[in-house]
């Protein structure tokens, strides 16, 4: 804004500003904002299809939220269970993802190590990020299923038993989801953290080295503190993305979250209400809860970045 010198008399062009931004805002309000409002609105209504009969819409206040937070017959609160599943699977993938990305970023940017072939390595590790998640998951399913090629190999080498089924064991399905998420995202994180480290003033590393600081000390006392805003940003966006986990667990378990719904994520739960019975009320309530959680996380991001800037 400050670049606009007064002599430009930009005020006379003001209407063009409005004209240029109208398509964006028009589309945003019709196709995103209005549906969002409807989602909130729906969450206070009973509105679903039972076979061929349409139930509602009927105003029910907070009943949908109450229903979501009421324990089922087995004593578990489904939505909390699914949040738990989602977070567990996110952590299982994110921990190795961030550890390895951080290590790679530090190694790649270390001038003394002088790692060659970085271009091709980055190209290879980033590639899985662009692969269709549902196709990647389907590939994993075909490879790890009972008729796939990997199980016989593992049985032969004695690692697993013939009776073992990758898709009937909680830990292995969650493990496959986490592996897929790890593979798809560690390259992306590496590249982001690398850019963060490269933005740090090189002379800081130089002088630390001249003072005889060890690599570990340089890492903990210079790299990490200065990388923190970008690290937090990538970490929280990864968590927000993790909460929206859907394609991978859905395709791996055929939308069922098997075994025993231990792989069911929040969005799969939402999808079940939305796809099967068009239950806009319950789906709306789940969306609102997801929105609140995401909003809190986003505020944390902005706060952290702002504080470190100022």
């Amino acid at each position: 804004m400050k670049d606009n010198k007064p002599k430009v008399k930009s005020i006379s062009y003001a209407k063009w500003g409005y004209i240029f931004i109208i398509p964006f805002f028009l589309v945003y309000f019709i196709f995103t904002f209005y549906p969002q409002v409807l989602t909130f609105y729906n969450s206070f209504f009973e509105n679903f299809r039972d076979g061929l009969t349409q139930i509602g819409p009927r105003f029910v206040g907070f009943d949908n939220y109450k229903a979501l937070l009421t324990p089922s017959d087995s004593g578990t609160i489904d939505i909390l269970k699914y949040f738990g599943n989602t977070i567990i699977m996110w952590i299982m993938g994110a921990v190795p993802q961030f550890v390895i990305a951080l290590l790679l970023a530090v190694f790649f940017t270390n001038t003394r190590l002088n790692i060659k072939g970085q271009g091709i390595m980055k190209t290879v590790i980033y590639m899985p990020n662009l692969i269709m998640a549902s196709a990647f998951s389907m590939l994993f399913y075909t490879l790890f299923s009972n008729v796939g090629p990997i199980k016989p190999l593992l049985v032969q080498t004695g690692i697993i038993d013939q009776s073992f089924d990758f898709f009937f064991t909680t830990i292995s399905v969650r493990g496959l989801v986490a592996t897929l998420n790890f593979l798809m995202w560690f390259g992306n994180t590496t590249i982001l953290l690398m850019a963060g480290i490269q933005a740090i003033d090189e002379s800081l590393f130089e002088s630390a080295r001249l003072d005889g600081a060890s690599s570990t000390r340089v890492f903990f006392n210079i790299t990490m503190p200065l990388l923190k805003p970008i690290f937090v940003y990538t970490f929280i966006t990864s968590m927000i993305g993790g909460l929206q986990m859907f394609d991978v667990p859905s395709v791996l378990t055929n939308a069922k979250g098997t075994p025993n719904r231990t792989v069911m994520t929040v969005i799969m739960y939402l999808n079940n209400y939305l796809g099967g019975s068009n239950n806009y009320g319950m789906a709306g309530a789940i969306s609102v809860i997801l929105f609140i959680v995401t909003a809190i996380l986003s505020i944390i991001v902005f706060k952290t970045i702002d504080r470190d800037k100022g």
């Binding site: 430009v8 003001a14 063009w16 931004i21 980033y126 196709a135 994993f140 075909t142 999808n271 995401t294």
Partner: protein, 286 residues
């Protein structure tokens, strides 16, 4: 001192070997599954049942024909649909984001600050939050099974706007706009003929990303596209999973998966450099 240096240099060499080993292992992990996919896509169902080998089966064309002419999973139809949605979204999202960014960056108007703040504020809202209302509206007005319903919303993409805005701030001298005004060009022509070419690198990068995102998108299309001639590729892949698996020709299944990811891989092979550059320039600046 000399000895100390020697030890340090040996340590460095050892560390270097270790680092290369780790990186090669990770690269292997990234490529292994795709190599397996390509090999398996070239083997017949019988060959596949005999277990895994590293030798391609030589029936690549056979599987390709089988997959392409399958009557229940119409993959060519799916690829055309996916392409329409992905290309349409990529064009809409980049052009209108650039236009909006330009509008807010270059002109001074009352609601400028508000418009900017609004877009940044809504950037983090997950798309799933609007999905419930969106699906409801689409069914209410009979717009499910219409591909354009998936394209038009991409006109308003806050994250792409933000990227374009940053790019303009870094690259567009306002003198150029002024000079073009003096030459008598209208504001709209200035944007299309002068500003867009300057923004080409940013547009190219965002086009690739939005194309890929739309090509891979599964959640919303699966809720809306129910008629078989409108389905996109990810929906068909998920359908493979829910079909009775034991009856399937596995060579064909691998070929379906390969066809689903191949277009993106081909694009990536040619444009990986600018794509990787785009990864960092898009998000870190914030």
């Amino acid at each position: 001192m000399n000895k100390k240096n020697k030890i340090a240099s040996i340590q460095l060499t050892l560390l270097r070997i270790l680092v290369y080993a780790v990186i090669i292992l990770l690269c292997f992990l990234c490529l292994f599954f795709f190599v397996m996919l390509i090999i398996n896509a070239s083997r017949t169902n019988n060959q596949l049942q005999r277990g895994f080998t590293l030798i391609p089966g030589g029936h690549f064309i056979y599987n390709f024909k089988n997959a392409f002419t399958d009557s229940s999973i119409q993959i060519p139809r799916g690829m055309v649909n996916s392409f329409i949605v992905a290309a349409g979204s990529a064009i809409c999202t980049t052009y209108f984001s650039a236009l909006t960014a330009y509008g807010i960056y270059v002109y001074n108007f009352k609601l400028k600050k508000l418009a900017y703040t609004f877009i940044i504020a809504v950037m983090m809202i997950p798309t799933q939050v609007s999905a419930v209302g969106f699906v409801q509206l689409a069914y209410k007005y009979g717009l499910n099974n219409k591909l354009w319903v998936l394209i038009v919303p991409s006109i308003a993409a806050p994250a792409v706007f933000f990227y374009m805005y940053q790019y303009l701030k870094a690259t567009l001298p306002l003198d150029i706009v002024e000079a073009s005004r003096i030459d008598g060009s209208s504001e709209f022509v200035t944007f299309n003929k002068i500003v867009l070419p300057i923004m080409k690198p940013a547009i190219a990068v965002q086009m690739i990303f939005s194309f890929v995102a739309a090509w891979n998108n599964y959640f919303l299309p699966a809720l809306l596209l129910t008629s078989s001639d409108k389905k996109t590729v990810p929906i068909m892949i998920a359908q493979l999973r829910s079909a009775d698996y034991s009856k399937f020709d596995m060579g064909k299944v691998y070929m379906f998966i390969l066809l689903a990811i191949l277009p993106v891989i081909v694009v990536y092979i040619f444009l990986s450099k600018s794509i990787i550059k785009g990864v960092t320039s898009g998000s870190v600046k914030g």
